[in-house]
Symmetry: C2
Subunit: 409 residues, 2 copies
């Protein structure tokens, strides 16, 4: 945790309490010393839940647990620890999950299946579950409504700043609030590029409708970011709706009444996803990549991702070098339809290459100035069709090597 | 070129002349000063040629030229420059290729289509072809049989040592020689992970049979290495057979008479491919990844590649951290069939994780000692089937950032 705060950090927004949500944090000593590493949330009865998870084929035990509980759509608690991911821990991993859920359920008086879990940190070491369960009773006794900021801090690992976002939405004319916290700065890549993200709302929405809203919001947020192309075994996004707001009823399928809610949820997710990129390990620049003119949206996204994941593009940007040759390379390596002689590339809004070669009389000065900034924009037009996509990533710097060459030691 | 020589460098082997091959180098001032940057080879009449090229969808003009000439199967010359890749240079790129081939053909007295070309270096800048053609006459006049080592040096870009390999093979009881040179240290990834590699033999082999031998040798060599997952626009491997050796005739399809030749060619290719990884930008450790027990060889190769390309695995190895958790992550992210609870992982021959968890009583000491060495071996057994594959890569260090954050400046 000794890394300096990312130069791209943004401050925590003011976070109002959400009816039906109480939170708390504790220093359970799972791995770190002198910091909180455990958070718990308790939800009002009738709370519904939606979730999306990593597509990694070797997921952690907590991911398997959540997947199994999700179809029932009900939640009373969330317990999250930092410092140990409880991944690749064999039978002990499943046991730890069971013990934790049972302990939390007992404190709350609910079935264990209504307790959702997440763990983040080192992979392959057995979770010291007894430290976690030992800390739970006092933690539960101290739950309070105004602890979102503390919760955002307790779930950090290599993060250099806590991440939260909040929006007001209207459902049938009544206001509801959506607030979320997230952690993550490495091992971030689609699909389901998180790390961990937990969202809370006082809206009253049946689980299937809630799941639809969440799934739609992920595409333009956590599935549109990448830090290092590595996909975590633990990526988890959970959305809890406590049902305490008094608005018109929402059906199982949701529909038009949730239009504003969906939009606000997408904004919260997008805000949090970009904060994760802003805290990308070693990041000094936030990079937005817009691909247009591809043969399809899917093709556009693959090309955007090839650019976003290219170490050569990312190191060039770290070096403030407007090296569009490497962008051409990355477009070509995506394996998607591309015609070198129709390809155009812009950096910072300046089209420097058009139709396969440098623009005559190209003036490098504004591009050089743009490259010196914190936020870099790259646009690629394939000139083939109408497919478009946007992705966000960060540059690849010495900081990434520093952080990841010595994480366990 | 200021980077220190890779600690994994190997010396150039002694390189005997090859009958029917004359070579030369020149300092044409294409980009670099005070070094050679242009090489030319002239081949005896009747020389046959085989080639494989990048699968990047935005290839350089020289790649397009070679692809177009290859079906005729005949070569009299090879001209290669370093410092400028002649990629994404629009119409000027095609023109430069034509001018160069025509100039070389005139000196030799052959059709332009029998001149093969390659360029390596910066992408997106117009090749100063007049410097190249100005240097050709003197270069051609000075061609000699014993210049392979100089040629290996003239084609370097960010390479820190020249790369060559040589083997003797038998065709029908008579000896032939195969020698090759290569360059490349970044933008290296399958498929067709080279950069540039040129092979020469005095064997007399029809072009179709030669192409078969080359295609077979690529799978276990240049298509089994990766440095940074980026795929060059210029990857080119060309094999020239001058036909000066006196051995039994080889048919168009080759067959069993070429068994030893194929084996020796594969060995030369493998040797050169590993030298490229040893010179991976910033590389301090050579990493071998063996995947077994996958559902198919193709699946095994994808998993091996996911491990080899993972920035988190590569930075962990740079930090001498036996972080098998990141290997689990990389296996899972490949998207191939994997069962976490059947997965076993070894580092340096020590099986540290078996069937989904750490081996009881696992003694870290020999693994820690192995991690401190220059050559790291990782083995992953999926426990699912009989598919296996091997890939080589290098670690990801501060050196990579140094080299690629300031390449153009």
């Amino acid at each position: 945790m000794a890394a300096p705060v990312s130069p791209l950090a943004v401050p925590l927004p003011p976070l109002a309490p959400i009816a039906g949500l109480r939170l708390g944090v504790a220093a359970a000593g799972i791995r770190y010393r002198d910091r909180t590493d455990l958070m718990m949330a308790e939800f009002a009865p009738e709370t519904t839940v939606a979730g999306v998870f990593t597509r990694n084929r070797c997921p952690g035990a907590p991911v398997e647990w959540c997947r199994a509980q999700l179809p029932a759509g009900r939640a009373r608690a969330l317990v999250v620890n930092a410092g140990n991911a409880n991944v690749f821990t064999g039978r002990a991993g499943g046991d730890a999950v069971h013990v934790t859920a049972t302990a939390a359920a007992k404190l709350i008086g609910c079935p264990a299946g209504e307790v959702f879990l997440a763990s983040t940190g080192v992979i392959g070491e057995v979770l010291p579950v007894e430290r976690l369960t030992a800390a739970l009773p006092a933690l539960h006794a101290g739950l309070a409504a105004d602890r979102l900021a503390e919760a955002a801090r307790a779930i950090m690992t290599t993060d250099t700043f806590p991440k939260a976002a909040t929006r007001i939405a209207r459902i049938g004319g009544r206001e509801v609030r959506i607030s979320g916290i997230a952690k993550g700065s490495g091992m971030i890549a689609p699909d389901m590029a998180t790390m961990l993200c937990f969202l809370f709302t006082d809206a009253k929405i049946p689980a299937p409708a809630l799941q639809n809203c969440l799934a739609r919001g992920i595409g333009g947020s956590f599935n549109a970011i990448t830090v290092d192309s590595d996909t975590s075994t633990s990526d988890t996004v959970l959305l809890f709706a406590t049902g305490q707001a008094s608005h018109a009823p929402v059906s199982e399928t949701g529909g038009v009444i949730l239009r504003d809610f969906s939009r606000a949820l997408a904004a919260v997710l997008h805000d949090l996803a970009l904060q994760v990129v802003r805290d990308g390990e070693g990041a000094e620049k936030l990079i937005r990549i817009d691909v247009t003119g591809a043969v399809s949206p899917r093709s556009a996204k693959r090309i955007a991702r090839a650019i976003a994941d290219s170490p050569l593009v990312k190191t060039a940007i770290a070096g403030e070098d407007a090296n569009w040759g490497r962008i051409v390379m990355a477009v070509g390596k995506a394996g998607e339809p591309a015609d070198r002689d129709r390809l155009s590339i812009a950096i910072g809004g300046v089209w420097m290459a058009r139709e396969g070669t440098v623009v005559p009389g190209y003036d490098e000065a504004p591009v050089v100035a743009h490259m010196r900034g914190r936020e870099i924009s790259i646009a690629v037009d394939l000139g083939l069709g109408r497919g478009q996509a946007t992705m966000w990533t960060c540059d690849l710097t010495h900081g990434y090597i520093d952080i990841n060459g010595s994480y366990r030691s």
